[in-house]
Symmetry: D2
Subunit: 343 residues, 4 copies
């Protein structure tokens, strides 16, 4: 039984507490938040859980095995490092840290102390994304030509992070998980329409050595909510609409074929192939539950989580690169990752 | 009565012939195509129309007042210049020419000879786009924050032009018409997934001096067909879905508002506003018919068409700039238009 | 402050308890359920609320002002009558009772004792239905020609009530509220595909004296979930899609017009009118909250609820008539209501 | 080569002429219409085709092998009988005749003269309906529990036939083709909202001996256009949306299962099964072309068409029964067909 202390009971914290309370092998020991009105809610809902306004109380508590941090991103590094130094396993909300340097330091600290470091890129634990990876890994999709994502809605404007850090962060983790490849270059453009606020709209292209190209369109300023990903392969194509109540993932037996017939030298020798469409049944387990139980298993067995510090770091690198390119109006930024993922 | 000679009876030519045959003030005199099987079709459908494999016959025909050119883009300049030199008014399919230099020469020649030059950016004559311009010009939308277009489907791959020239061309003309402003910079990325073919997928960002940002996502390699534009303004927002059988254009009374309340100095002072949605009735006239009659009127009255050579040139400039940026992986390309539009 | 005792903490009871706990002027005093595991949940969530397996305890409790009954429909009459006889105001889940005779007895008992009787036809308190009534009552829709509802999904099969009692019940209450008129006849057809179970699929037509015709298509055996209502009027038409996240209600300026031109005697003189579409902003308050506060107000002020026993009775009459017609393969059943609503 | 004479060049006639002109084994010899302006159009489009205002000219023409009748339904019997008596094969638009008695006479006449009689229930030749029949016949769907169709739009009001004859006619032919079974009873309701016009809205339920129940919702007075069919089977379920540009037919691996576990005696022993969804590729041939070539083949080989007089008659019987029930407010009408289909 892994006993959790959770720091931060704002927007996402309640989901963590509920899942740690119910996940197999997990339990909630304590919750910290600077806002006592939040703690009152915890007290009503979970009378047996200890609450405190001082996160240090959780670090000092020998009954706490793991710390989960669901506070603003600019506090992740300081709180996370303190937790590791107190010998606690660490669950960090995404993005992992503000800078890639901070991410590297946390990874090193966790490795040195042999502690488990989990970054909560929740989409990796959804039935939809796992099914898509299964299809890609099986070779059914063929070579991946492109990934094209639209992730837009009205609000929520954030004060300290831009829309890339808030929304494209999901695509960056999904791309890493699906492709097992880190991009070599990024070109991004975007804008903050309101002085003194972070960028509220961004368009990001990622270039991969294998020839795959990926694109993310993210916005806090759209009149309609869209959560759609297209993936085109040489054999099949996928659409993923996260707002559909069912049949979120569809696989199209569609594609393009080229002939080398010399008689058609003056024609563009492209043919279209169109066949059945298929929407596989998806696992329905709540992603956060699956993630929580995976973390518990990793702690118990000394394994590395699927969403480990390395994934967290690569995502932060992409946020840094994309933000830098965006401020240069699309200027190409090359990625020199020292931690390329071994797929 | 303006009598038309049409060069090219392939994909789009039949639509031109049908509309010139039926438009008020217009008539079809002759059709030229190098493929006699195409001319056989013309002969059956329009027994009274003269057909020929030699375009020169149309230029030599004193009964022809205007020439419409619906051939591949790499022939537009030569055929168009010959038509102007023969004293004919000129209708050119889009994009106007392969290069902006060619476009400038045609504009100058038409001006010198006092001939009417029309570029067939058909979307400008649709009820949807005209309604959107009306709303923007009225000030109801407020300041235009962004334009975001998705224009994707499977095929048709083209041999001599890339996907920007084929699909983003529509957005470039629509943007010019809606905003009355030429962009100052472009950043584009894209890819040709099949060696020896033009780029089949592109992502283009356009930056405007007024602060508007525009983005176009175009592809010949998508499993589903999408034709969607979002426009966000400071007062209202628009969605335009060209595949909807009705209610193509929707206006949302949604937006963001900021407060300057100093007490909220530590908060991001953003509020959301959400109200009614409204789908105006759109004029149902076929766009090509409206364009044809507008061209006829312009010839008769010596007026400049809404889609004149200047618009055609500005669009070609954007295709050149976007293609150049795309080949530089998003490298920012600045636009120095000598013919900024006076809106 | 009205203090509630709630009987039944199964599927719907938790929603009642949550809303009574949070509604202005209301509080939860006690909860009864025969299943102690349900009471354990209440104890954890609401430590201050008294729980019991014996509903009689609630009736005997002088601290309880009103009883809400969220148990299977075959217990409504007995429990409801006991509550009234104990002097408690009464909130009944829908349908009110198994038979119209039972409904009449409860209405009479409540009237005699001057107690407030509320039937929880929740849809009446949604922003969508209230907006639709506003439009109809204003005359903007014109004469109501028809109401056409589809309410289908896979499951939940019920053991003791048929699909009419489970799903068409919503349409019957909505129709009563929107039209202010009771039908004069019903024709229904339906089927139970599984021996020994209630009908799982039904098609019901309701005929009104004013000429309005209404139809409900209800099913527990559909592969997709649909919740759609169309209402056609002589001036405008409405669509209501309850599964849309926004713009649930749309008003179409569409219709039919007839001419009496004698020259057109051989033509069917029908013209179509098509104009703008408009989706009004809807009030977002949770319907159950609005209903709870309305009940509290009615008790305080001695007013009659919008969803009173009369509405509940008329709905039960329609369920009886529709079920009878359904078992006669569509045989017309005439309604002789002694309690026609005074609109 | 079968040479066709077509009577009637109004709404549907041009489609017939075009398809007979292009179908393998067919040719157009002559077209008759009382309206000379229609014949002018024919003359322009098909200069070689003979035109006349007198249908008798076509019957007298020995160069005409088959007559296609695309005139108002109240002329079908007279014209069809004359064509058969002139020794011509006969193509009739749907519905075949105004009364079932007329249909029987035409069938008998054609049989006596050994002429081919084809009724143009076009849906039977669509890729979608043929795929659905294939799935049902293969047993993959299991037992057919229900068929549920919505076929509504604004207009076109007709002067001489009601909405059942105009729209439900499609469902009646599709049901016959898919189920191979004639219903035993019908209950229908509907209304004409405008005095002196036929019913513009109808709800029809069909009962089958096998236990299948079918329902059709048809209207000329809906603000939106819908063309949707659901079919529920014991193993799988189908949705068919004819307005979708692709993936019109979807097969859901969803259903209900019952257990006989005596321990669950107090529970309703229903389980839900939900699995993959699959959208098969559909044949893209134009239905009318397929029908035309099938008719030509049947004439050549002396075969009976899939949409023969027997199907046409059964559909007319259902229109008669449904209209009769509708005028009795849902009164059950039993069908005594003497020509039950041998599937």
């Amino acid at each position: 039984m892994i006993k959790f202390g959770v720091i931060g009971y704002g927007y996402w914290g309640p989901n963590l507490v509920r899942n740690f309370a119910e996940a197999n092998g997990a339990a909630i020991a304590a919750v910290a938040d600077v806002d006592t009105s939040k703690l009152d809610i915890v007290n009503k809902r979970y009378p047996a859980v200890r609450t405190t306004t001082r996160f240090q109380d959780l670090l000092d508590d020998p009954g706490v095995d793991a710390i989960a941090i669901a506070t603003p991103v600019n506090t992740h590094f300081e709180l996370g490092m303190a937790a590791l130094k107190a010998g606690k396993h660490l669950w960090l909300e995404k993005p992992m840290t503000e800078t890639s340097l901070q991410a590297r330091k946390l990874i090193d600290e966790a490795a040195k102390r042999n502690l488990c470091l989990f970054v909560d890129h929740t989409f990796i634990y959804t039935g939809a994304i796992r099914k898509m990876r299964e299809i890609i890994k099986s070779g059914d999709l063929g070579r991946v030509y492109y990934y094209d994502s639209v992730r837009i809605n009205l609000g929520l404007f954030q004060r300290d992070v831009n829309v890339i850090s808030d929304l494209a962060v999901h695509d960056f983790s999904i791309l890493d998980y699906l492709l097992g490849e880190h991009p070599v270059a990024i070109s991004a453009s975007g804008m903050n329409h309101f002085p003194g606020t972070p960028e509220n709209l961004g368009f990001i292209t990622l270039f991969y050595e294998s020839g795959t190209i990926a694109h993310c369109n993210v916005s806090w300023l759209a009149p309609v909510k869209v959560r759609q990903i297209l993936i085109g392969g040489s054999k099949k194509m996928i659409t993923y609409d996260d707002l559909e109540p069912s049949e979120k993932v569809k696989i199209y037996d569609k594609g393009v074929s080229f002939t080398d017939d010399p008689k058609q030298i003056h024609e563009l020798r492209v043919g279209y192939r169109t066949g059945d469409m298929w929407a596989p049944k998806l696992a329905g387990t709540e992603a956060l539950r699956l993630g929580a139980e995976h973390f518990v298993d990793c702690i118990a067995d000394g394994k590395t989580p699927e969403t480990d510090g390395g994934l967290g770091l690569r995502v932060v690198e992409l946020i840094e690169a994309a933000t830098s390119s965006m401020r240069g109006r699309g200027e190409t930024v090359y990625i020199q990752s020292q931690r390329r993922k071994a797929s």
